[in-house]
Subunit: 427 residues, 2 copies
């Protein structure tokens, strides 16, 4: 298979963008070594001060955002993207309140995850520590800039932010405020830095900065994530691609099925936990299928499938993450066939079954391989806030390190701290 | 930076080795879907039957090993490698007993790691599940073939083994026994497979088989690990590179320091937890340095450093993982200088301090960034068996997923199982 390429330009260390990224990463590494020593109270003080500073700087932030918006409009960027880019006084307050919320969350650093005393008298403690330097590659919304800083900082990490070029001015204004607050608290401001975003060479430099960057988290569409994964040498956590299914089992309550499918598709069609395919058991399809299709159509959803009156579906439709008011609908033979379909086309994000049959629910939750497997509820619940994490840095769809919504503990690692009194190991 | 390359040959899907690896990976994926349903008792039965089958097949296994040994001798392979490759009746029994030991360990699968009931009545359980298909790339010793199968199988994973070409016949004989035992227990034998090892194209195919392989663990020298990391698109766990330090602090008990340094260097110089550099605090160096150097020299260790009577050290010596009876010795100004040196040259494996000063011990364990930080004991203790894990698949030196020795739980992921009764998410 050929790897998607991030850019065709030079990525040698001599390249000026690469040199700049390395310098910022190196400074972030140095800053990160001091973050581990900060008390929870000191971190919370910074977060609440940063919230106040962002509110105080509302005027400058909105002015910078207006520049981004004007440039985006001149570039003819589509309305939905413009909306995600736009800041308002209410949104600035929301960003500030997000930091206050993170300040209120428990500090994961220092937690003793496991511990024991060995027969030779040595004591072992597995202690939660920061990852170090975390790189975030993201698109569009400027609020991610501050959210990511808040979560990374509370968990003791320095953060390198590679946002979208369309949000360059907004991001610069926000990061300037954050760095001022850090400096005012005698903390190395290099604990947060914005990477240049005019082309993708800064992404390449970031994801190959082994030894300087501990983890990269790409947040965005499948194209961005695949390109990062194919080119990264720094460990990465894949997030967010969601081809989520709702399987309406033969023993489903059809009122519930209709309600859940409508919510899973139409609540916010552009987010990763939206349902993209409905699988309907053949045993009930004659009744269930027309009813669910009609309900979806009444909400303005376009149906892709093999049945009469649908947009004809091809193989691609079963894999498609529409992220729009489109959904694929397919008749499946039985539970096995549904699980098989999900295994083939799913992205391991969120899969739901609607059933009143206990054995079917158990079989589905056991055999379906996904970050979240849901019985009788909407796929829309796969979300850090809904799961009660208080803050979320993304939703991992890979199996290493973290799976599903990632909160503060997911931005940490552990180390073994061993105390002895002169023990040596026999041959 | 330029990426190390694994091979210059074709790695397109049309390439026969790649096609073969994909076919084995696909079969392993299918097999893995059934492993998750096996009870602990069924898995333990297989492991104990496999132990007996390996003992029963001792003659064939030793004959295959003799072929490998003869080929290695004809190729002029060095004595230490020959020793690692060689099987004996005692070593075959040891391999079988390793499987029995894994059978006796707790089964991590199905453990509920976390759980809660949300305000809307939905229940969440975070359940431990297998990773799926695990690829292991390793060198030399044929016992790893069986050890890796045992740990992967007990934790519900299918395993693709890419061993050394020098052990090809031994590995084939061992895997044949394992597959026969699986088939005799009505388990898909594709849960374990040996990949072709005649060139590195099978490694490339394995580490780029996204969607078929869930995780790759390279076990071997720094060259192998760097090449895997640079070329992998499947998530990897880096293992084993250890440039470990012992820092003899100004408040060290010199009897203890000498005993620990000798053990950390000479117990088994070829393993990753061996000490490669001794840092001696300037405050005590006039006494401590000649004493520790003399003790090392008495054990046949060559000293690299800047002092009289040492092999002159250059920058490379501070980074070097000698894995031999060589060690670098350096005078450092103080605790800060020691931590700084370790931060610059260490590989994040194991770092030790010898001190009787509590504040120094605390500062060292807090600030040194490594998988294991040890106070007053030998670096040789960083090992799954020593830590009480019962079995070890390697020692992670990265910060994602697992850090330090990896046992059965480290070969698992989790999934969120959510039960509702029709909940939908408000807008």
């Amino acid at each position: 298979m050929s790897a998607p390429t991030l850019d065709s330009g030079a990525t040698a260390a001599g390249d000026p963008v690469t040199a700049q990224v390395h310098a910022l990463a190196s400074a972030a590494k140095t800053a990160s070594r001091r973050l581990i020593g900060l008390s929870t109270a000191a971190k919370n003080d910074v977060l609440t001060a940063a919230a106040a500073a962002i509110e105080a700087a509302q005027e400058e932030i909105l002015a910078a955002n207006a520049t981004d918006i004007a440039r985006a409009e001149a570039d003819g960027i589509e309305a939905s993207l413009l909306d995600r880019l736009r800041l308002t006084p209410e949104r600035v307050t929301g960003i500030a309140n997000g930091l206050r919320q993170v300040a209120g969350l428990p500090d994961p650093i220092g937690e003793v995850v496991a511990g024991k005393t060995l027969p030779n008298g040595m004591t072992l403690r597995q202690v939660r520590v920061p990852l170090g330097v975390v790189g975030i590659v993201y698109e569009a919304r400027p609020n991610v800039t501050v959210d990511a800083f808040g979560i990374a900082f509370k968990s003791g990490n320095a953060v390198l932010l590679r946002g979208s070029s369309s949000a360059a001015d907004s991001n610069a204004a926000l990061v300037a405020v954050l760095r001022e607050v850090l400096a005012a608290h005698d903390i190395d401001p290099n604990a947060v830095a914005l990477l240049p975003a005019h082309d993708r060479s800064s992404v390449t430099a970031l994801i190959q900065a082994r030894g300087l960057v501990d983890v990269v988290i790409p947040r965005g569409g499948a194209g961005l994530i695949n390109a990062v994964v194919a080119n990264a040498t720094v460990p990465t956590i894949e997030t967010g691609t969601g081809n989520c299914h709702v399987y309406v089992h033969s023993a489903a309550d059809l009122d519930m099925a209709e309600k859940v499918v409508i919510n899973a598709k139409t609540r916010r069609p552009s987010v990763c936990n939206t349902a993209e395919t409905v699988l309907i058991d053949a045993d009930i399809a004659d009744v269930a299928l027309p009813r669910i299709v009609a309900a979806l159509q009444a909400e303005g959803v376009t149906i892709h499938g093999d049945e009469d009156g649908m947009e004809p579906a091809d193989e691609q439709d079963w894999s498609e993450e529409y992220l729009s008011l489109d959904i694929a609908v397919r008749r499946v033979d039985d539970l096995d066939d549904a699980i098989e379909h999900i295994g083939r086309y799913g992205t391991g994000h969120t899969e739901a079954i609607i059933t009143s049959d206990l054995a079917a629910a158990n079989e589905f939750t056991k055999r379906v391989d996904a970050a979240a497997v849901i019985v009788n509820a909407s796929t829309a619940f796969t979300d850090g806030e809904q799961f009660g994490f208080g803050a979320e840095i993304g939703i991992s769809t890979q199996k290493l390190h973290a799976r599903g919504p990632m909160g503060l503990p997911e931005l940490t690692s552990t180390k073994w701290v061993v105390w002895g009194d002169g023990q040596i190991r026999p041959v």
